[in-house]
Amino acid sequence: MGIEDLQHNFLTGRLEDLVKWARRNSVWPATFGLACCAIEMMAVGAADYDISRLGMEVFRASPRQADLMVVAGRVSQKMAPVLRQVYDQMMEPKWVISMGVCASTGGMFNNYAIVQGVDQIVPVDVYAPGCPPSPETLLHAILTLHEKIRTGEITRRPGSAVKAGEQATGGWTPTVPDAVRVATPR
């Protein structure tokens, strides 16, 4: 019986795949509910669209125990530094889902009060469209993130060609890009 007719299972998987498998199936979201999207995020957490079957059983309140920050809602200018602070205090490896158009691009509120897109503050991994995204859209976004973790490379090899300032994607926490604070009128 050659090696090739061994089915590919847990035993024969490589260590990295094992780590990625473990991380993918136990991503704990931090409650970062801001506005209407937060209500849909709670609905996703509740019985009907249950995300605990994806391993996201618990919404951790403190960033110390969370892997994923779902920015659910519009980010105001006053909230931006707080969001950055909570992101910094999250443990590695961490991912960000920008839920809803208000978080992704400022949505319908293109005015003085809303940060036009949360990717000016934190590196975003998955954008979920919709206003508010229906629970199915958020589930799809979470599955996309899982796919990204599964296929992304687990750690950034030093020496791999990284253009300065360009965000190295991949399962590992992307080096913090130049979180350029675009000078929206302040």
Binding site: Q77, K78, G106, N110, N111, Y112, A113, Q116, G117, D119, Q120, V180, V182, T184, P185, R186
Partner: protein, 172 residues
């Protein structure tokens, strides 16, 4: 209710503007246009006349819409503070509209008559820039502390970030 209005309660006084024919009956509120000086007295008189609750305090900036319908004795100014009082016992509402000049936007605060107006007046100060004298904590409430300017004024831009297309060079 001309300028030199005695500080009697407006309750029962006919609404100042000619009856607006089209408003459904329960929406016709009474209006009062006190001068800035007698504003505090009128609010206190309303309170004693049975207006238990101050439902709302907001302000309107009439910079780009000067020609609005006002009773003849009232000189239109740039700002207008609108106080909405509600009487639970007689189920009436009165709207007190005070003209505030743009040069010195200062009005008496009614927090010691209606403590509920505390946060509303802070919001009017924060978004419109009208200072309420005698208010215990005249600071911003909605905008960040180091924000310059008062956003709801008509001369304050919307702050719209120009929407870029994919190829357009720009911040993103």
């Amino acid at each position: 209710m001309s300028d030199a209005a005695p500080a009697t309660a407006p309750v029962g006084a006919a609404s100042i503007l000619p009856e607006v024919p089209r408003l459904p009956s329960h929406l016709v509120d009474q209006l009062a246009f006190p001068h800035r000086g007698t504003y505090k007295q009128m609010v206190r008189a309303c309170r004693d006349a049975g207006f238990e609750m101050c439902a709302d305090v907001c302000a309107v900036d009439y910079l780009t819409h000067p020609g609005r319908s006002l009773p003849e004795g009232v000189a239109p100014e740039r700002f207008e503070v609108v106080v909405n009082l509600l009487s639970l016992s007689t189920r009436q509402r009165v709207r007190i509209r005070v003209q505030v000049p743009g040069s010195d936007p200062v009005v008496d605060s009614i927090v010691d008559v209606y403590p509920g107006a505390d946060a509303m007046e802070r919001e009017v100060y924060d978004l419109m820039g009208i200072v309420f004298t005698g208010h215990p904590d005249m600071t911003r409430i909605l905008m960040p502390e180091d924000w310059e300017g008062h956003p709801l004024r008509k001369d304050y831009g919307v702050g719209r970030v120009p929407v870029q297309f994919k190829e357009a060079p720009g911040p993103r």
